[in-house]
């Protein structure tokens, strides 16, 4: 593949209204993850701006969870570096500052809501008041005494969120936090994420629902373990020539496929130039 332009195939930190040109919370360089013979992540290079919401979007199986696990430091990586808050991912000193909410809520079903949050608080040195404050913040204060197993799906996943918030993380990694929630609750959560970001927390949120991309400051678009683009929702709309983020993403995928047909090993060349937009 010939490099027509001196600029990298995608702008790692686009200078744009998202503020992504500011301080960086996470930088990923040449990250590869192989599981057995399959490549789960192929050469990901990206940076995640500090105090912003970064959306990790892509279809199921595109490597979103693996990338998030790499940020948290629980993923064995094959090559590359992941630097989180100035330290290698998984550094023991990061464990206080990085919160991770897995896709399947990971809480103790046989404990009360409050006891769950208090336990995860205790491992971060937070007390009972902190736990109650966090429960109030996620709207579960009235259910504090209920057993987690007795809650509805949406409430249950908010317990999982509360267990991560109680550690007051500087970087919060959320794997599909809004999946299966009703629209009102989804809007509430996104408002909460926005408030946290404005207080300085860096959020990385994955979703396979493109309409949620609009809530993010910057987007990482993943497909088949490759990073298609890093850009803002506005840039995505502009690039896809539509206000429909889903359609814009689809167009970018088609453009990428048109540009690197067959066994394209690098996804980075996707859709950089206007000429690359072949698909409608």
């Amino acid at each position: 593949m010939s490099h027509r332009a001196a600029a990298p195939p995608f702008a790692p930190v686009p200078a744009d209204p998202s503020g992504a040109s500011g301080p960086v919370s996470v930088s990923v360089d040449g990250l590869r993850v192989r599981r057995g013979k399959s490549t789960v992540l192929a050469n990901i290079t990206a940076s995640i701006p500090d105090g912003r919401i970064t959306g990790l979007l892509g279809p199921s199986g595109s490597g979103k969870t693996t990338l998030m696990r790499a940020l948290v430091g629980v993923q064995k990586i094959t090559a590359g570096t992941v630097t989180v808050l100035g330290r290698p991912a998984g550094d023991p000193r990061n464990r206080h500052d990085v919160g991770y909410v897995t896709q399947a809520p990971s809480v103790y079903r046989d404990l009360s809501v409050l006891d769950n949050v208090r336990y995860f608080g205790a491992v971060h040195g937070a007390g009972r008041e902190d736990a109650q404050a966090v429960l109030a913040a996620v709207g579960l204060a009235e259910l504090a005494k209920r057993k987690a197993a007795d809650l509805s799906g949406g409430q249950f996943s908010r317990v999982s969120l509360a267990c991560a918030l109680v550690g007051k993380p500087k970087l919060l990694v959320l794997d599909e936090p809004t999946v299966g929630l009703d629209p009102v609750l989804r809007a509430d959560l996104w408002q909460q994420f926005r408030d946290m970001a404005s207080e300085g927390t860096t959020l990385v949120i994955s979703s396979h629902v493109m309409e949620e991309a609009g809530h993010c400051d910057t987007l990482l678009l993943l497909r088949d373990g490759m990073l298609l683009e890093q850009l803002t929702p506005a840039q995505l709309r502009e690039r896809g020539e539509t206000d429909d983020l889903e359609l814009a993403f689809l167009r970018m995928i088609r453009a990428a496929e048109a540009e690197s047909p067959g066994n394209g090993t690098q996804a980075n060349g996707a859709g950089a130039g206007p000429g690359g937009r072949a698909a409608s």
Binding site: G73, D110, L111, Y119, A122, V123, H124, G125
Partner: protein
């Protein structure tokens, strides 16, 4: 190692148990009921004058075996749940140290084990008139120690099970051979050489040997102390190996 985190873990595990009163009742009552069964089993035996009752020998050994079995099962299932529910992976992203987690478990179940041992030993003494030369305090201590041994081995075995069904299958593999070879059925010095050698490397043999020392001597013997040290060493080794099975990074 951090005392606060360890204790928080113990409290959490005990709270989980508290939410399950049926399990608590089983842990406390079942050994006493089984002791009653053993008592009735030997109720009609005819004894030569001066010969001790079989219950005094078998019932005493049971006081060391029950806590081991019960805690092995309870721990391996609880820890397996922790692994499969994602809470373990989540915990390992937090500042908690592996030792805090494992010792937290060990302390919580030891507290349960102590309660169980008190009920079972009390039943043996006061209801069924267990008669041994040594002090009942040693019996309780050995019961608790074998319970902690069950915890340590349960934590370790949970790493090799991916389902609760598999975890339960570890009982015939890990627990039953120890019961067969610990000296309950055939005294260890009467076993063939191979079996005796195997029984010499199984921790439960030392616990049962310790109980026999307590039964035979009014004062603690050096053999008893040696037995306790060996069982304790198995506990520590079990916990250390378990900590190796807790990986912060997975593929």
């Amino acid at each position: 190692m951090n005392g606060t985190m360890m204790w928080a873990t113990s409290v959490r595990v005990l709270r989980q148990l508290k939410g399950d009163p049926r399990s608590i009742a089983m842990i406390l009552v079942v050994p006493a009921v089984l002791l009653a069964l053993v008592y009735w089993l030997y109720q009609n035996e005819t004894l030569a004058p001066g010969q001790p009752r079989t219950f005094d020998r078998v019932g005493l050994m049971m006081l060391g075996i029950f806590p081991f079995v019960v805690m092995f099962l309870v721990t391996s299932i609880t820890m397996l749940r922790e692994r499969t529910s994602g809470t373990l992976e989540r915990l390992l992203t937090t500042p908690i140290h592996k030792a805090d987690l494992l010792f937290g478990y060990a302390v919580a179940f030891s507290i349960m084990a102590a309660a169980q041992a008190l009920v079972a030993t009390g039943t043996a003494y006061w209801v069924f008139g267990l008669e041994i030369a040594g002090n009942a305090g040693w019996v309780v201590l050995i019961s608790v120690l074998t319970a902690v041994l069950g915890v340590a081995l349960g934590l370790l075995c949970s790493a090799f099970a991916t389902t609760e069904f598999q975890a339960v299958q570890f009982m015939p593999v890990v627990v039953i051979p120890q019961i067969l070879l610990c000296g309950l059925f055939v005294s260890r010095d009467q076993m063939n050489g191979v079996l005796e050698a195997v029984s010499n490397v199984l921790p439960l043999s030392y616990a049962v040997d310790g109980l026999q020392e307590v039964a035979a001597h009014a004062d603690p013997t050096s053999a008893l102390v040696a037995d306790l040290v060996v069982v304790a060493a198995f506990v520590v080794a079990g916990l250390l190996f378990s900590s190796l099975t807790l990986r912060r990074q997975t593929a």
